[in-house]
């Protein structure tokens, strides 16, 4: 609003800008106790700041002690008889719920005596994810390792051969289902998203229209609708007599949905590649696909890795929506274990536990994505 004056003063102010900023760094006095000094400069350096600090302390004082006494000091940690009776007598949180229901929450309705199988499968996948996170292991052998792990995991989950009992997919549930849907969703969506992104940037109008239409259509509707469509309409789309698994239908829905979002991330990467790269490839006479495969995509996809990790995080959170179409993912399994009238009053504890699982995965991945962004930038930084 006062831009005209601003412009005039900016020019003269630029010269003196050094002065006030060095004045802020007052010489530390040696006698003052260090934390006090820190508090003075970080919490009480002005009157409004001091008021805000006091308000925040007041808020914490109101919230933290009751929370601690509920969650820690007055909490019921174990239930001797396997019922919620001990919790109902107590005034605090009922963590005994975890002791009783953790298997149901983590593995859903998978046959109880076979729980070691999804547990082992989940552990294998998490270990592979952790390994793949490190650049040191980004070698071709990793792909073979993944192939092997996928086969082993499929064998563990389905069984049916080599001495394991057959477990059909409607019985799968809990964390393995959440992880599997998120991972497969993103992996299957990836190739589709590359095709869509290239199509959207193509200079052939019909192809561009088809790809743009698909991306915008899918991004304009909620995942709930897509999943609902997948669960009620896919059976109608297929020829009579052909049925597909509920899990597979949800996976197809997730994949089609994720692909549209991922395509936009890939397009962002493609746009970041200087035009000269493509022109150089054209000048060398490379045909379209070789130009993309050898010149453009290797550069673009490296830029896209952090957004892909971010997309994976939202995909991981979005898998909770399969609850709505009747699959037993981690959230639905948690909800199911809270349906027990004995434990129902302690739903907050159950959801906190599930939230913690989601949080650990998503938070570590978002930190990883930030680290990776810096790490990948080192190669091109000058």
């Amino acid at each position: 609003m006062i831009r005209p004056q601003d412009d005039i003063h900016n020019a003269t102010a630029a010269a003196d800008v050094e002065e006030p900023s060095s004045a802020v760094l007052a010489a530390p006095s040696a006698v003052v106790w260090k934390p006090l000094n820190w508090a003075k400069s970080n919490l009480f350096d002005s009157v409004p700041n001091a008021i805000m600090t006091l308000l925040a302390v007041l808020l914490l004082w109101e919230v933290v002690p009751p929370l601690l006494s509920w969650g820690v000091f007055n909490a019921t940690w174990f239930s001797a008889d396997g019922t919620a009776a001990a919790c109902r007598d107590g005034t605090g949180a009922c963590w005994a719920l975890m002791g009783e229901k953790n298997r149901l929450m983590l593995f859903g309705v998978y046959p109880y005596d076979q729980h070691w199988r999804p547990a082992l499968a989940t552990a294998l996948v998490i270990a592979m994810l952790a390994t793949s996170a490190l650049r040191r292991f980004w070698v071709p052998a990793l792909a073979y390792a993944w192939l092997g792990v996928v086969l082993v995991v499929a064998w563990l989950m389905w069984g049916g051969i080599l001495g394991l009992r057959y477990v059909e997919t409607p019985q799968w549930g809990g964390l393995p289902l959440t992880l599997g849907l998120a991972l497969l969703g993103i992996v299957l969506a990836f190739p589709l998203s590359i095709v869509l992104a290239l199509g959207r940037r193509s200079n052939l109008p019909a192809i561009r229209a088809v790809c743009t239409g698909y991306i915008e259509l899918v991004r304009g509707v909620p995942l709930v609708s897509v999943l609902f469509m997948a669960s009620v309409m896919f059976p109608l789309f297929l020829p009579e007599g052909v049925t597909i698994d509920k899990l597979l239908r949800a996976l197809v829905g997730m994949t089609l949905f994720t692909a549209a979002y991922l395509a936009e991330a890939v397009r962002g990467g493609l746009q970041a590649i200087p035009r000269g790269q493509e022109e150089a490839a054209d000048a060398l006479g490379l045909p379209y696909w070789r130009k993309m495969r050898l010149i453009v995509l290797p550069q673009a996809l490296r830029l896209v890795i952090p957004p892909i990790v971010n997309q994976f995080i939202s995909c991981f959170k979005d898998t909770s929506l399969v609850t709505i179409v009747g699959l037993y993912d981690l959230l639905a399994a948690t909800k199911a274990s809270l349906a027990d009238p004995d434990w129902r009053p302690f739903f907050v504890e159950g959801y906190i536990a599930a939230a913690l699982v989601y949080w650990v995965f998503c938070f570590s991945m978002s930190r990883y994505s930030q680290w990776l962004e810096r790490e990948l930038a080192t190669g091109t930084r000058r």
Binding site: D6, M52, L204, A206, P222, I324, P345
Partner: protein, 393 residues
Amino acid sequence: MGGLRTTRPKTLRALVYSARFRGIVYQVLVVAGVLALGWYLVQNTLANLAARGIATGFGFMGQEAGFDIGEGVIAYSSADTYLRALVVGVFNTLKVAVLGIALASVVGLVVGISRLSRNWLIARLATLYVEGVRNVPLLLQLFVWYGLVTSLPVPRQAIDVGLGVFLSNRGLKMPVPEWHSSYGSVVAMLVIAVIGMVFLRRWAINRLYRTGRPFPWILSGLAGVIGLPLVAFALFGAPLVWSVPELRGFNFQGGVDLSPEFAALLAGLTVYTASFIAEIVRSGILAVPHGQTEAALSLGLSRAKTLRLVVLPQALRVIVPPLTSQYLNLLKNSSLAVAIGYPDLVSVANTAINQTGQAVEGVAVTMGVFLVISLALSLLMNWYNTKVALVSR
């Protein structure tokens, strides 16, 4: 295809190898493939629907819906048509989305600025909020909110918040002024005052640019916006009758209420989206070079004025595009209402689908409506974006 424009090919061989010819062939193949897939799906669907004895077409929209809807902006009874039921759903979706966007923007702005506060404690609290909320699925948060709201005491033991506001497992009840015939002119005065404020702002900025003398248009404008309706209100003799919630039997009568479903959905959407908006605001502010802040401070502007006049207008250019997609996300996430029983569009459409079996039409209507609302919202935000975008001179 790499943009090579050659002269018209002379031989068949040259034709086959020409980028232009190949481009046309590829396009024809893709379009034919898409059409063939569509035709195949439609044929299968028609055959399946015929085999199951399900009707097709939108004829069902005129039939009696026969199910109740918990709440709505417009009047509705189970004797109304499916079309009206769906319209009720659309309005419910819009209601929660509009309120959610407004609240999430405010909370997100406050939290985003707090994350950059020089006050260590405030910054840490804001970080805790953002990192804690955005890494947990919204649906889980909605279940918790809904569980908390419905585990409140029954209306007889409702928590009295004061000022006639009551919290119970039937939702939030609060007093509301009863409509009076003079309120029309009060609202008219409000509209006039708001329009007047827009012109005042234009005049004040114009004068500032011309003469350099500032005019406190915000304060005087706000005085008008609050004052004019109050004057009108007083002239009519201040006819104010409050409709206060009162406990009669097992529930409250009078006042206005937020249903537990709506309250839980609104709280969940606001808290979740605000954490993302906070990050957008933070990155937008960080994108403004620090020299701008230093220059403003050295001119003697206060910290608040620096933020309002120098930093935020520049940050908005970075903030608005991702903010648009967060608004769209909130709109789409409002469809999670179906999981806690708030009768939004998706939830009403699902009921209609379950009753009629006409899944294709139901899903098509849902998607169509969401596409239209999304499009309208992005057009609005794009218009705003062009207003805040850098004007290159």
